[in-house]
Symmetry: C2
């Protein structure tokens, strides 16, 4: 209830000047151990704690990191956020979280606000902003920054990414190896960088196997979980329907599982990019390419702390790899070729060739 004690109060009580107190707090040297002792007792007695606002105002940097993320509700980012918060707190830093908003302007404003708070560093999951053109005082010469999950457009800075293309390419090849040729690609926020790379991986794997890419097999969910039309149903009822699904992120996987389950289509193979809570307890258990969001968060924080402590080496690009876990859903074979052919025979695909390809 009583106002917080200040340096002044401590100085008064211990009979020294505020500078001496300040020195005791910040640096042990240059102050006699006797007086230091007296000051420390006064600090203890009053329960003094330095005011971080005043300190930041004067020094120009705060004992806090800023995290800009699109949404913490996404379980992937929630896990990452937790890891960042934990690492930051271990280093004695607070974490200020802000979501990026819906437009580049908002994203910019959010970052400017954080910078005005003199955060010591920023971890950013870039969404909509073209960072290179913004001339924000971040990166080399400005506030240290680490980009996570997606690279900043047009800017060189520390970046932590997962090997999206590789992971999905492998996952898709896995499905192909099990006999699938009609593989749907499902994702939320498909226009985002990481999804784009995953999409490339998907296309490349198809290309490697000589399978033509069919845009009608792409399912795009909105990031908003609330209203999802049964988007998957469409690709499963095409004339030449999908026999397997590659879902490209956790939220999409949840949707896909929900849909497959409500359709009772346990014959459809599924590989999920991103592991999720009870993937292994589903029927069938879901084969996944697992990213480690916590590792990502820890890595980003580690790089950021190095920068804050003065590391000026060239920007680093960390590429985390994924772990492929075969659990069952990814190893389902398509219905026999004859089945397929007869099915394909009944119908005419969308625009696609008029006549089914030979064999």
């Amino acid at each position: 209830m009583t106002p917080n004690p200040t340096l002044r109060d401590v100085a008064l009580l211990s009979g020294v000047s505020i500078m001496t107190v300040s020195r005791v707090i910040n640096a042990e040297w240059e102050v006699t151990s006797a007086t230091a002792q007296r000051v420390r007792e006064a600090i203890e007695a009053l329960g003094y704690r330095p005011n971080p606002l005043a300190r930041s105002l004067r020094t120009g940097h705060d004992e806090a990191l800023g995290l800009v993320v699109e949404t913490i509700g996404d379980p992937f980012f929630a896990a990452m956020t937790e890891a960042v918060e934990e690492s930051a707190r271990k280093a004695g830093l607070f974490l200020i979280i802000a979501s990026a908003g819906k437009s580049p302007e908002e994203e910019r404003a959010v970052i400017l606000d954080l910078l005005h708070r003199s955060v010591s560093g920023l971890i950013i999951v870039p969404c909509l902003l073209a960072y290179g053109k913004e001339r924000l005082p971040i990166g080399a010469g400005g506030v240290p920054v680490v980009f996570v999950d997606r690279p900043p457009i047009d800017l060189e800075a520390d970046t932590v990414l997962v090997h999206n293309e590789d992971g999905v390419r492998h996952a898709t090849a896995h499905l192909i190896a099990h006999g699938h040729r009609r593989i749907a690609f499902a994702g939320t926020g498909i226009e985002r960088f990481s999804l784009q790379r995953r999409f490339e991986g998907y296309c490349n794997a198809l290309g490697d196997a000589g399978i033509e890419y069919d845009p009608s097999l792409v399912v795009s969910y909105t990031p908003d979980t609330r209203d999802h039309p049964p988007a998957l149903t469409k690709v499963l009822t095409l004339r030449d329907p999908a026999t397997a699904v590659l879902s490209a992120n956790e939220m999409a996987s949840l949707e896909v599982v929900r849909e497959l389950h409500s359709l009772a289509r346990t014959d459809i193979a599924l590989v999920s990019f991103d592991d999720f809570a009870i993937a292994e307890s589903l029927t069938p258990p879901v084969t996944v390419a697992r990213q480690d969001p916590a590792l990502m968060g820890r890595t980003a924080t580690y790089l950021l702390l190095r920068r804050i402590r003065g590391d000026t080496s060239p920007p680093r690009h960390v590429l985390l790899s994924t772990t492929f876990l075969e659990r069952g859903s990814g190893e389902i074979e398509p219905r026999s070729t004859s089945d397929l052919r007869s099915q394909a025979g009944t119908g005419l695909p969308q625009p696609v060739p008029v006549r089914a390809p030979p064999n």
Copy 2:
């Protein structure tokens, strides 16, 4: 790259004093529209934004809310956090998140740190600290505070809780109504308030039905997901084993599902307190008592903003109710009494029967 412009710069450019600029920014009155216009142009030209640190230092309150939560990794709290962040940002406030740490001292330190940052208000999920005895300058006469999910020990303040006891009582009664008398209770962090209340609900429902409480049916997981021994197996292999499980929070439910699934015990009934991602896509779909973490977050923020704007009415206690969703797993009947008797008769628990059970 150039340092942020300050009031001084704007004043210089527009040919007025810094006070006039300050007035233009904070209050339109008392300044001629002509000069105001000039000042606004200068602000625009320089891209000036007020420094929140300096402002907070001077005024004693920051445009930020503080959130203290045990762990954001818990999906329930992640969803709540997202809702809080969203509401706060709509009100033009930042959100500073801090996790409470592992001891009362840490929790106290975290709150003091936030207070030193002059946050306008705090939302706290109290963990270990006895708030009544701490004499923290929060609540009436101090910084507005709203407690969430658990009530503060020994302190009167705005609180948002779910009706834990009711929800679990109903869920347990539901299992009993379906013929179960041996119902396990599973939870993580069982010593916490909300789990305690849920436990009470469980006990009360048993009492209502005249079933004796058996402590050997309680499964306590640690909040740490990493190493969970197969705790559930024990209660399923008792001489008089559980035929149903009531899992008391989301993380426990995930564990229970994992265990039941790996044991292939689809004969065990399950009701989960807390809905979770693909509960309805499991086999069988999981019956749940659903809390709404987003509603909880929004409600808390709403109450807090009212307080910040000067509401001094007596503390409010909001009690959110749960929604019961029958999906299948909670409606499984126990094996017939004869089956049970024969099993119980043949069997010695752990090393499993030597001989396969008949039929």
